[in-house]
Structures are given as C-alpha cells and as structure tokens.
Assembly symmetry: C2
Homo-oligomer: 933 residues x 2
C-alpha cells in the first residue's frame, strides 16, 4: 500500500512543498515550512488519495489507513511529549482540510480536538486558566457537533448569545469559567438529545469523526458549487491535516493573524494583513470581530512581529510569489499555520508579476504564465465615472466600509443569496448585501455584480471570495442596519429596501444610492509591460471580431492585429432605412425588385466598409458575406409589416405570406450562409461590389485596405467554386470602373463538418480558412445552442451526468470538434501548403481553445475586442508551454502541428487506440497525426 500519512515537525517533514496534489495546498505548505526550519506546530497530513479511497470504499475507513494514521498520532504524541486525552496535560490538535487548490472557507476545520470532560480539567490546571480551557471545550463541542455530526448551528449560537445576554456581557472572553463549564454541559445535553448518544469522550473517536467530517465536506453542496464556479476540475479530494493546537486566545500576549506578503489589492511591496489579539484564527477568518491592521501588531507583540517580517521575506524568496500566511502567537511565541499563494486583485497580479521579474525572482515567461484570463477580464471592470463632481458624489453617498476588492458596481440590493440568484437569472444586476457572508452564499455571490457586508475585514470570507473573482466588494460597513426579515436595511436613518439601486465603489469603500455612471478603468502600466512580453513570445496573430469602425478602433487599442470576422448583417439593423431596405430585398417578388432594394443597401455597406478599412489602416479585414437565414430580418409584428408595406407599396398580406414562407423547422441547418448566394447571386454581387468599391475609394485616399472576403457555411468544393468565381467577376468589374487595382483574398469559413472532411478539395478554391467553431460545435455535437440550455447543464453538472467538463460552447471540445479542426487544417494544407488559417468562433477568446488553435497550427485567432488581450496571453502561454516541452520558446508552432489534440489533453483522457500503440518513426506519425489517439 502507498504511503497515506506524511509527518512534519521538529524542523523536518516527510512531504515537500511541490506535493500539492498529494498533500493538498495546506499540507504541502506546512511540510515546506517545516523543512525550512520555520516555527510550525508538529502534525501529520493524510493524503488527498485517502479521501478519494474513502469515497470509493463506500465512505468507510480501511483498517490499513486507520493503523497508519494512529501510528502517526503516536509519533506526534512522542514528539510533543503529550498524549491526546491525557487528563493531566492533554495534547490538543486541530483537524483541517486542504485540497490541492485553495477553497477558502468551503471546507471544514475542527479545533481543540482532544478535550473531554477529564482532559479539560487537566488543561485548566496545566494552564491555570479554567476560562481558557472551558472556552476551548465549548468551541470544540460546537464545532464537532455541527461540522462532524451535522447538527444545526443556530441553537448553540443562540444558547451562547442567551448566556451573554443573561450575564450582561458583550464578548466571549467576559464570560466567567463556571458559566462556560455550565454551557459545555448544556451543549453536551443538546448533543445527546439530538444525536441520541452522549458526546464522545474518546479522543481517538473524536479524531476519526473530525477526519471524516473533513472528507465529507468535500462533497457538500457549497464546495461542489465553489469548484464549479471556479472551474476546478480533476481534483481527487482534500488532504487532512492533524496538527498540534497552539492558542492565540491565551491573553494579550497571544493573538492570531492572517496576512499577505504584499498588498493583494495594489500589489505594492508592503506587508499587509489583519491581527486580532487574544483570539483564535477562526475569529479573523469568519469576520466576526473586526481586527486591526497587521502593522499595529508591532506595538503589542514586537518580537513576534519582527520574526514574522523575516519569515515574510524568506517565504517570498522561497516560493517566488506573494504568499498568504496564517499565524498564531501563543504567549509571545510565533507559530506559522499556513502559507499559500495569495489571492490578489488583477492589478496586483500584474504589478507583482512584473516586479518579481525585475527583482529577478522569476523570468518573463514565468510572469506571463502566471496571468489568468480572469486577471485580464477583471482589470477591465468598470469604475465610477471620474468626471463626476465631488458634490454629486457626496450627495449620493450613504455609507463607507472597508474597500476589500476594487472596481465599481451598481445593482439592485438583494439580502439573500438564493433570491440574488433568481434576480440575476431574470436579468437584473444584483448587489448582494449581507451582515456577513458564509460559504452557503457563494452561489449568490457568484452572480452578484458586487458584494457589501456589514461586518468583517479584508480577509473575511466575503473579501477573500470576492477578491478571487475580482468582484467589487465592500466589507465591515458597520453603519448598515440590516433586517433580513423585512428585507430592508437602514443607514443613518435612510431605509434601503430590497430591489433599491445602489452603487458600490470598491476602490474607496463608498456606498452610494442610485445608479452612478461607470467607466472603464485606467490600466496599470504593468499590464502593458507584461502584455508586451506576451506579444514577443506568442507565435500566432490575434485578430478581432468587429462590425463597426468604433469596434475596430477599440479592438486596435486592445491589441488586435486585424479583423478576423466582420459580420455584414449587423449593419442592416443600424437604421430604419437600412432595415426597410433589407426587408424589401427579402420580400421581393422577383430578382428585379430584389436588385432594386439591394441598390439601396449598397451605399450603406460601402460606407461602413470604408470606415472599417480606415480604422484598420493596413491591417487585414475579413468580411463575411451575409450569413443568417433571411427570416431573421423580417418584420416581427404588425407595426413592422405596416411600415414595410408603406415603404415598398406591397400589400400587407403579401408581406405576411412571404414572412411565413421563410419560416424554417431548423433554421440553423436551413437556408442561410452561402446557400443564400447560390439562390440569390445578386446579394453576393451587391456585397462584393460594396467591399471592393470601398477598398478602391480608400486606396484613392492613400488608405491601405486589405479585404479578405469570406464565404460562410460552405459544404462543398463546387459550391464554393461557383461563388468564388462570382466574387472575382464582380471584383474585376468594380475595380475596372473605379480604375483602381486592390489586393483582396477570397476564402471560406469551415463550420460544417463536411467542409472539414473535404477540406483538401475546398482548399483548391479557398485562399484562406476560418473555423467557425460555434456552428461547427453545433453540428459536430448535434447541439443547438439556442436549445441546449434545457439539458446541457445536466451534461456539465458534476453531480448529474458530468459528461463534459465544460460547456463545449465556452471551451472548444478538443476531443470531438478539435479532430475536425485539425483534419481541416491538415487536409487544407495538403492541397494548398500556404493556406492561411484562423478561427472566428467565440472560442477564439477562450484560453484553452486558443492554446489548441496554436497547437493545431493556425495563423491567427479572432475574438471580440475585450477578449483580444486574453487571446494574446493564451497564445503566449501555449508557446511557453510547448517551448518548455519542445525546447526553445519560439519553436512551439512548428512542433505543435503534429497533434494539438494530444497535447490539449486528449491523450491523457482516452485510451490509446490499438493501431497507434505500435511505435512508428516520427515522420510517419506526423502524417497520420490526426489518428494519434
């Protein structure tokens, strides 16, 4: 049997910091700190695999594991010289979860384990502090009852509250020991009543109960939801850390803290965190008491603070990243309880990464690799319009809290997570407002635009979770007087009801009534610096999907190197005149009438194209000819029919009849795309004329235009050949009459499976391919994106069918659709070696899909303007990853063409087919690359 338990303590550890997958993040951190000689309480980590085996074993503990754990407990007892449950001087331990990825607050922890009716007396005697001992015992009974045994939290909280009320005290430490002892008895009585058996006095039984509680918390709803929201997949379970207790609640020389080695909001290289005197760690994390700034610790506990500052430097150097630390000071002595990569705001992410490069702790490639798409997305979160006058702001302001996560957000106030989810589903912008948040609230937090809590500090649950998501968050806004029952709150006499609109400024902590205008933020200079490194590293181009000159300009700002998809049909909706002209074209009775209507559209399209060419000066612009089925343009109501009738002189009945005629059973697979141009060549003629005339006009004005005319929905070589020929004929005519000669290309989308399958023949007549992976996904998987909402969630849900890890419309289905993409490229280039290939589906802005595109040998990806930086980043990361594997950053593209699907993980998830188990020389393998599975 593999080793399941790893010991640490006494300056040594069996595990290592790089064993996160085995020990979980916390266990690995504890091992690493122990090895580094930092003051870490001794203990042992039960591996992640043991959790997996527990579930596989029908939630039973195997005898072998039981033996191994209990042997390590003996070892811990020997090292500490104390014994669990010892009536004189008991060893107390904490039992904590710790998965490979941090899931703050999601998983269970049980403290002070080892106390029972006997040992609590021993502890009281030994510490000469009965209040401390009984406070620990009552905390343990509470945690064990609720966490391990699943009893409801409220009754015991209520009993504690009632006791304080009776005694007339405000805080826990004011409760005298005898009262606490009585409370413990009441708690045990409560336990027995509800559980049907007395509270366990055997510490070994307690320990196993706690370990199982940690394991069970892995599959609790909130944890599953969190992993779904965070897209954490492939985890096998959580590690369990059993560790000697140290106490921050032993008076004023004790305390506990949570801190970051740099400011997680700005990234500034300053020590940052919270400290709470005379408290256990849970008090800080839960945000129940408001802690002081870490720097204040220097005043109350200088030696420990100085030691902590040294440790801060050592850990950063060791981990080469900003760390999130937990520590406890027990009667002046510092203990490190945790180190892990610290969550941070996007701005801080960029600043820290760039500064670590300048400090020569990491390379540029490492810096680029550390940025996530979410970091970039969140950088662009809005802020309150800086042009607003101070008086305006002052008038709207109703409260101020702690600015936990920057950014700004406006929305309707909702006081409960479930209702927040419902409101968001209905399309409302939501602000979740709570006294404090707890892991049960993550669903509501995920959908909220911003989060506001009345209590808690910057390391409270709300702050930590929101920061991870880059979501505007204000905590500790103590002025708020929230009444959950009435669904309202009062602030300084003003009443805010559920549904009222507020605006939060996460940068300042200010809360405003009403809807303040928001604006895009100024990007930190480190963003531009890091992205320039990414641009140097990446091997493929990044274009954008843009339909207007304004979008085009925005995209260039975002770093786009051309337009990969300009949808011409959106232009038809822009004005009433255009809408009527396209509608007239559609309802036309014959080609003559259709051409007349198209003539009206021509100048609009020509102007639009000219505007786009100007905006993209010199950069290629891929223009897709009309794509959607015509019925998408037809009037939808009586008024529309009436207007069209007036504009065209056609009677309403005829128009209605024509609209009905256009109805399709499956429009996705219907009369659309280039099929329209096969039936109505005059549409193609108008569009091509507009494109070429615009290009000629630009050229006359010394504006370089590089149109790439793209034919959508091609399924066959001959179909495309007919249309390409028409394009050239019209283009020749348009050039002849303008007297200009312009460069242009004609290519096709590959979005029908058959097009990918016959790409070798299609490439004979196409100068470029652009993979339309939205449609390709729909057809390859037989999934209508409009309808999949009905069942696809079940297919992605971890607890239901879990067929797919992620929605294939969000991230390209490499295993299936990816095969067709690779096939299309390989076959296309087999007949046209220089074939230019790109992607213009929404996958072109999704990290893993972009990496796949790089590996499949594409020349560019194209995505919406705001996704352009993500695509730039992902393309660089793919180059870095392949460079690492293949040798040399810049060789990624060449080596990658062989089997992008294999690298994108398909080989890992599927069994090799027998045919490829035999070894083949590399050259042959390349040729049959698409079969490598």
């Amino acid at each position: 049997m593999a080793k399941h338990v790893y010991f640490f303590g006494g300056g040594k550890a069996e595990g290592r910091g790089d064993q996160k997958d085995l020990l979980g993040g916390k266990g690995a951190g504890l091992a690493e700190m122990s090895r580094a000689g930092l003051p870490v309480p001794a203990g042992f980590t039960i591996t992640v695999d043991s959790c997996d085996e527990y579930y596989k074993n029908g939630k039973k503990i195997s005898p072998a594991l039981r033996k191994e754990v209990e042997a390590h407990l003996k070892r811990l007892e020997k090292l500490t010289g104390k014994r669990l449950g010892d009536p004189q001087d008991p060893l107390l331990v904490s039992v904590r979860s710790g998965a490979a990825n941090s899931m703050p607050g999601m998983m269970e922890t049980i403290l002070n384990l080892g106390l029972n009716d006997e040992s609590v007396e021993g502890l009281a005697a030994k510490t000469n502090n009965p209040r401390f001992a009984y406070d620990g015992y009552r905390r343990f009974i509470q945690m064990y009852s609720t966490t391990a045994m699943g009893l409801s939290k409220e009754p015991m909280e209520e009993m504690l509250h009632a006791l304080k009320h009776k005694l007339g005290v405000k805080t826990d430490p004011e409760i005298p020991a005898p009262e606490l002892k009585k409370l413990c008895a009441d708690f045990k009585e409560f336990y027995k009543r509800n559980q049907g058996s007395p509270f366990p006095q055997n510490p070994i039984e307690q320990m196993w109960g706690a370990i199982e509680a940690v394991w069970r918390s892995w599959t609790a709803d909130k944890a599953v939801t969190y992993r779904k929201v965070e897209k954490l997949t492939g985890l096998k379970g959580t590690g369990v850390n059993v560790m000697q207790m140290v106490f921050g609640n032993k008076g004023d020389t004790s305390g506990t803290g949570v801190c970051f080695t740099r400011d997680p909001n700005t990234g500034v290289d300053e020590f940052y965190g919270d400290y709470l005197s005379n408290a256990q760690g849970e008090d800080v994390v839960a945000g129940i008491r408001t802690p002081v700034k870490l720097t204040e610790m220097e005043k109350v506990n200088k030696p420990a603070y100085v030691q902590l500052c040294e440790i801060r430097k050592r850990l950063e150097k060791h981990y080469k990243d900003m760390q999130d630390l937990e520590f406890t000071v027990e009667e002046g002595k510092l203990y490190m309880l945790q180190t892990r990569r610290g969550k941070r705001t996007p701005a801080a992410t960029f600043r820290i990464a760039v500064e670590l490069v300048k400090e020569k702790l990491i390379t540029k490639e490492e810096a680029v690799s550390r940025i996530t798409p979410e970091d970039i997305e969140r950088l662009f979160y809005p802020q309150i319009d800086p042009s607003l006058k101070k008086e305006q702001l002052a008038a709207a302001k109703i409260a101020e809290g702690i600015n936990a996560v920057p950014g700004a957000a406006g929305g309707k106030v909702i006081f409960e997570a479930g209702r927040a989810e419902a409101a968001a589903k209905a399309g409302d912008p939501v602000l979740l407002v709570r006294k404090e948040t707890s892991p049960e609230d993550v669903g509501g937090m995920a959908v909220a635009k911003g989060i506001l809590t009345a209590t808690g500090g910057k390391t409270s649950h709300a702050a930590v979770v929101a920061r991870g998501w880059g979501k505007c968050c204000i905590v500790g806004c103590e002025e708020l007087n929230i009444d959950y029952g009435k669904r309202q709150m009062s602030v300084d006499g003003k009443v805010v009801k559920e549904g009222d609109f507020l605006t939060l400024d996460g940068n300042t902590g200010s809360v405003y009534t009403g809807r303040l205008p928001l604006k895009d933020p100024t990007l930190p200079k480190e963003y531009h610096e890091l992205m320039s490194w990414a641009d140097q590293i990446r091997t493929i181009k990044v274009r954008t999907n843009a339909d207007t000159p304004a979008d085009s300009k925005k995209a260039i700002e975002m770093g786009a190197e051309g337009i990969g998809l300009c949808r011409t049909e959106h232009m038809f909706f822009e004005t009433e005149a255009r809408r009527l002209a396209i509608q007239e074209m559609i309802v036309a009775n014959d080609e003559g009438q259709r051409r007349k209507a198209l003539e009206k559209l021509l100048p609009f399209q020509r102007d639009d194209f000219a505007g786009i060419f100007k905006a993209m000066d010199g950069k290629p612009v891929t223009i897709r000819l009309i794509d959607p089925p015509l019925h998408e343009f037809t009037p939808k109501d009586d008024e529309g029919v009436n207007r069209l009738s007036k504009a065209t002189g056609m009677d309403e009945a005829t128009i209605r009849h024509r609209v009905e005629q256009l109805h399709e059973a499956n429009p996705m697979l219907g009369h659309r795309g280039c099929r329209l141009c096969i039936t109505y060549p005059e549409i193609l003629e108008m569009q091509v004329r507009a494109i070429i005339e615009a290009a000629c006009a630009c050229q006359k004005q010394k504006v370089k235009a590089l149109p790439e005319i793209m034919i959508p929905l091609t399924m066959d070589r001959k179909e495309l050949a007919i249309l390409v020929e028409r394009v050239h004929a019209v283009a020749a005519q348009a050039q002849a009459s303008s007297g200009e000669k312009v460069k242009y290309m004609v290519g096709t989308m590959i979005e029908i499976p058959r097009a990918a399958l016959t790409a070798d023949r299609i490439a004979e007549v196409a100068e470029f391919f652009s993979f339309g992976t939205n449609d390709l996904t729909q057809m390859t998987m037989g999934l209508s994106r409009d309808d999949a909402g009905r069942f696809l969630p079940d297919y992605v849900d971890e607890k239901k069918a879990a067929v797919f890890k992620v929605d294939p419309f969000q991230a390209l289905d490499v295993e299936g659709v990816g095969q067709l993409v690779e096939m299309g490229i390989e076959r296309g280039r087999s007949t046209r070696p220089g074939l230019k290939v790109g992607i213009c589906g929404e996958h072109g802005g999704e990290q893993n899909s972009v990496k796949f595109c790089v590996r499949a040998g594409m020349d560019y990806v194209s995505c919406s303007p705001y996704r352009v930086p993500i695509a730039r980043l992902a393309a660089a990361q793919a180059a870095i990853e392949d460079g690492k594997k293949g040798g040399g950053v810049r060789t990624g593209k060449a080596t990658a063409r062989k089997s992008a699907t294999a690298r994108s993980g398909r080989s890992a998830t599927r069994r090799a087919a027998p045919a490829t188990r035999k070894k083949k020389p590399a050259k042959k393998a390349k040729k049959i690359g698409k079969k490598k599975r």
Copy 2:
C-alpha cells in the same frame, strides 16, 4: 489529334460494339452489325468527344474536324458510287444522334439530306418516281427547317394539311408529284421569309447544319430533363451518325419496322414488333400511323422477314441480351438501321435474365448485375383488384387501347404536361392523357401515375418512355376524342373533363371511369429464382425497419433477416389511450406523475414488442429507445389540450404553458434522443422493462426473442456508459422478477458526427453500432431535411449549381458523410474488433448506398420492407463487382474494408491528395485507410 470519325460499310467497320462511350449506342451498334456482315447502309460516326469539344470550343467546328468529316464523306461517296448533291444520281444521307445511353425521341434526326432543287430532279429521274423524290424533298425541308434551324413545326404541318384538304385526300402518298413540288417551293419560301436567307442548296452546308443540330439537341431542355429523370450523369455528349439513306417508302415492296427480339412486356421468347408498309421509319416511331404486327410482315415481304428472323437470333447471341432493332426494307431488300439493348417491363427483365442463364448465354452473376432497383420497384406496381366482378368492370369500362406497359393506375385526367406537373406537386394522383406524346411532355409523364394516348403503337414515344419507367401506359386508344382547348375528351358520347378520375389497366389496355381498387401483383417465378441467386452471392445481411407485427411479417415476406430499426415512438400514436398517456407523461409536473403516466404506457409497449418478437421468431430485433423531441407528442390544438386536461385533471393553462416550454429553435439539434433519458431516466426504465418483460414472456411460450436495445443520438462515451448501465440494471430486475434469462445486446446509433469521430471510445461501451445516416447527413452537411426543399433542388439541378449529383438524403454522400461512416467503423472496431455494424437510415434501401455499406464492412443494412429486395440485390451486386475486381465473388467483403469511399467513386471524382500520391506498402495504406483520398 485523336480520331474523331469512324467509318462503317461494305462488311467492315472502324469502330466496335463495345465503344458505346466513344461512338454512342447507335454508332457502336452500326459498327458491330457491319463487322458481323449484316446488311447495314454505309456511313460514318462522329465521336461523342467531338460533341463535347464543339461545346468547349464555343459551339464552333474545328478546321481539323471539318477536314476529317469531309474526308469520310468522300470515302462514303466512293463506296456507294454516288455523290452528295449529284444532279443525276445523288447520294442521300440521314444524320442521326446517338448518345452512349439511349434517349428515345429526345435527340434530333434529319433524313433525306443531300436533296436540293437540282438533285431532286435527278432522284426523280433515276427512280422514275417524281412523287417519291418530291415527297422526300418536302420531308427534308421540313426537318431541316425545324430541327436544324429551329423554325416552328406547326406552320409547315398546317400547309401540308391544307393541301390535303384542298385536294380532298387523306394520306400523304395520295398527293401527286406536281402538288408536292409546289409544296416544296412554298416551304422554301416560308424558310426564306423566316430565316432571312434562301434554303441552303449546298449539300455540304446542309450536312454541317444537320450535324450541328444534333449537337445542339444535346442541351435542349427536353434532353436535359430526360437525363435528370433517368439519372443519366457523366455523359459527354452525343455521337452523330451520317449514313446512306435507304427508303421504306418506295411502294408496297418497301417498308420499315421496329422490333424486339423477345416480347418486352412479358419476356417471352417471341419475335415482337411493328411493321409499316411503304413508310419511312419516323412514321412508326412518331406513332402517327398505326402499324401492323411484325408477324404480318411475313405475308407482304417474306424473304426480308425470314432474313430478319435469322438476324434476330444472331444479334441475341452476339449481344447476349434482348435487342431493340430498327430496319427498313427498300424494294424487297432488308437494311438494319439500329440495334440496341431493348427496354422492357420489370417482369420481362426477370424472365429474360433467368432464361438467358438457362440458355447458358450469361452467368447467374451477370443476370443479377443486370437487374436495377427500378426493375424491382416496378414489379410491385399494383394491378386492378382481381376479385372485382366482370360486370363491375364492364360497367366501368369506357374504352380500350393498346396495352403498351402493364400495371394499373388511377388518377385525375390532365391533358397537358405542365398542368400534370403542377397537380402532382399539389399531391394529386395524375393520369396524363394526350393525343400523342412528344419529348416535350417527359416532365408531365414522369410525375403521372399512368399515361394514355389516342394514337401510336407499342413503339411510339409514349410507350417507349413509359416502358422504361415501368409506368402503366395505354396507347392507340382511337376512341378518345380529345379537345385540348376545352380541357376535356369525349368517348363514345361520354365526356371526361380534366380532373375527372379514371383507372387504367396497362395489362389489358382497358380504360375505366372512376377509382377502381388496386392490388399488389403476383410476382413472376423468375423474380424469386433470381433473388435466390442474389441471396447466395451477397455477403451481408439485410434487415428491415418495422414498428409493428404487420410490418414485420411483410418484411419477412420481402426477405428481411431481422429488424434493424424498430421505432418505439410510433407506437405512442396508435390509440387515443396511448396518445393521452404519453402526453400525460410529457406535461407531468414531477417525476412521480411522470412515472404514473409511464406505467400506463408499459403494457402497450410490452404487448407491441411481444407481437414483433413473435413475428420475427428467432431473428434479431433492434429496438430504438425514444428518439424525437417531446413536443412532437404534445397536443397541437385546443381540442387536444382539452382532452388531455380532462384525462389528467391538469388545468389547460398549465398544459399550454408546458407545451410552449417545449418549443425549440432547432429541434433537430435539441432535447431529443438519449438526451431525454439523461434528463428523465424513468422513460428509459419503462421502455427497457417493456422490452425485457416481453422477451421473457415470449421465451416462456418457446418463442425466441433477440432484442438489441439501441440508444439514439449518442455523442459521447460517458453519456452512453451512464445509459447502458441503467439498461443493464433495469434488465436484470425485469429478468429476476420474471424468472427468465434472456439474451439481449445494448448498442447505439451513430448519427452525430462526434460519435463517429470518437467511435473508438464509444465502442468501449456499445455492443453494436447502427449508422443513422439520415441525421448523420443532416449534421455532417448542415442540412435540415425539413427545410432543404427551399434550396437543395438548386444544388442538384444540372442547369443551376449542380453541386451534387444526387440528393444526399436519397443516396449517401460518400465523399463527406461516407468518411464519417468509414471512420466510425474503423475506430469502433479498433477497440471492439467484433463490433456488429449496420445502417438504419433510409439510405439502407438505396442501391449505391448499400454498395457503399458492403464495402465499408458493415454486417447488415436495414430499410423499409418494400426496399428489402433492392437492398438484397445491391448487396449481391457489390459482391459481384468487388469479386470481379478483387478475384472471387465471395472475397468482396474482406477486401472492401480498406476504402469503400475510393471504390464508390470518390477516388474517381477527386484529385488524390499529395500525401497519398507517394506509394506506400499495402499494410500501411490499410491503417490510414480513411486518409486515402
């Protein structure tokens, strides 16, 4: 330059009978008969390629061709000792078309060419028969003017008619020579007036005009339509035959005839045909005069008749098939003008094929290869219910004509081809009734259930075309008095208006008023004999698609060896009780209500399955679980909602809301197939329980049941794995409670491209694959079958885009969809070598698709009961074809697996991709079989 002209005559020929593609059918036949020493007038054939070149050359004659043709004309003049246009004794020639495939009446012919104002006098003097000479000249002017120059036919016919009226004569031969001479002058005047130049007197100019006319007739609408209807593709053009004229109109010792070497209606080995004394061939073919039976010829022209009978035997032996002959007797001397494979009825096809085998002229394999799917289809055409009493028939009978093509048909009388097409499109059964038909009518003939003409014999245009199609046809029904203007006809005083219903009996020639009941025919014994040969030859099984015990029984009669597709959902519609139960299941609010409704359906389904198992005793039955989206079952109108409300107690608004909820944008790609069973496992559970319980019940009654449970619309291995596991769980339960143990399999449809692409993984959990090529075609090509009617016709139309040769929903798209089928099979068998594979789309009953399936290595095809014989035939033909190529009839399957697409013609139609141009050892080629393009 390649040889373009092939000479024949004097017992020799440059061409051969097997050069149909080069010389056309007529040219090859003339060459072969010349070589065989039969009496054939001398002449030469201009190759089919020359026609192609004429079009490629912009409808211009190349100087080289001009030279070559004129050199052969000189050779003809030398051989015959006569000169074209000679004023004393002119050579006259006919110019006739002849493509590789016979297109009766579609293409042009010009006779008597070489006559002009001078040579006509020479002919008159030489033959001492001015009437004959001038009759020939007027025929030539007429034909040349209309055929070569495109003048309208009617004016000259009218002039001829007026002349006869003036002279008070009825037939052409009664017109005296001087009147004919005057008529010629009038014709020439008419020509000059309309054409702007005098009628050409230069015979060489005449000849080229006639040759060009033949070439132009190749692309005339009627010819294009005919090729489309007959699915004649890949032809390059028509040959042109220039041949010395012989005259059947030189008095009573002359005559002309058309005949078949066996009876084309029954296949009986009897000489069969028509003879017309003192006439030119065109008179017989056009059906203008009614000829006598061929056997009557013995009386008027015995020596020629005896010689013809000898030639009949020789040609049949030579060609090993029944021949269609044309001949002319000129003053007692027999000339053969044509021999070609004779068209015949389906019954005759089988009888002739079987008898030729017994005569040892052909092998069984040859006999099987000669049968077409249409031959089989038409065998099953109905006849008038034989149980009708004689009196009933006599009362309904209104006329009797010549029984040209057997079978029976009822429909609405339509007098014009265009209107017949419109009526057929509107869904009406149509009978096309004409005085005579001409090539312009083929569109209307194609859509008609039956054809009835007032004139013409069994070899008239109507009879020949209808026979080719196996379409009921009565000709020469002289009692009909048709008035096209009034759109009605009178028969023996009764008036039949357009739209009235008639019934035709093509077996007897009887015409009945009203709608007589029709019945399936008795199959000829030769059908069963030949099909038994096909069954011995074929290498794969043929199953059927059947949903009821009745269908199952029918299918077994048709030769089915199991059920390949039993659609369970059709059962839900059968009775009101079932409909309500399925609707209740769909509108159910929760699983409980859904299960309750499903409980009601269970006994229905169980009974149905038991019935089918009994009908198929011992043969495998593939049962597909529910497939269509649920909204297909919901009530469609207020009444339906009301009934459902009453049956379920749910209020109507709730039902309506649920129905609306089920609406989908693209139901084809929506919530259907196995996706329903992922969402609602209870549906699967009910269906599997019904299947297994039925199988157990059958087994108890000693009826062997072999259910194969088929899961539709699978797209992923895990999805299928979840469902397969459920099937087994339910099956185990059902068996346990019945105490029986039944054999069953669980497999899947492969109908989503992704399923084919990931077939290796899917095969890990599927015991069999069945390709649903209807859906696979829809998704692979992005074509909704429901909507494609809007544009797909353009894609198949030879004159429009002509992207596809045939509708991909009729014949499998081998180039695209075929790749996925091959990939699916290859990959599926890579993980499960014994994987059973079949097809159950409608392609399973289409000849070329079945051949593809054989070559792709399928174990069976499945199709509707009436297509079963076609599938049996096609499977045998594929084995024969591959046996011929690969050596040995029975080795077809093994060798075919490598590249069915290549054999099915893809390699012929597409360029080889560069990667495969290099030679590879056979073994490797097999491994990358799917890349062989």
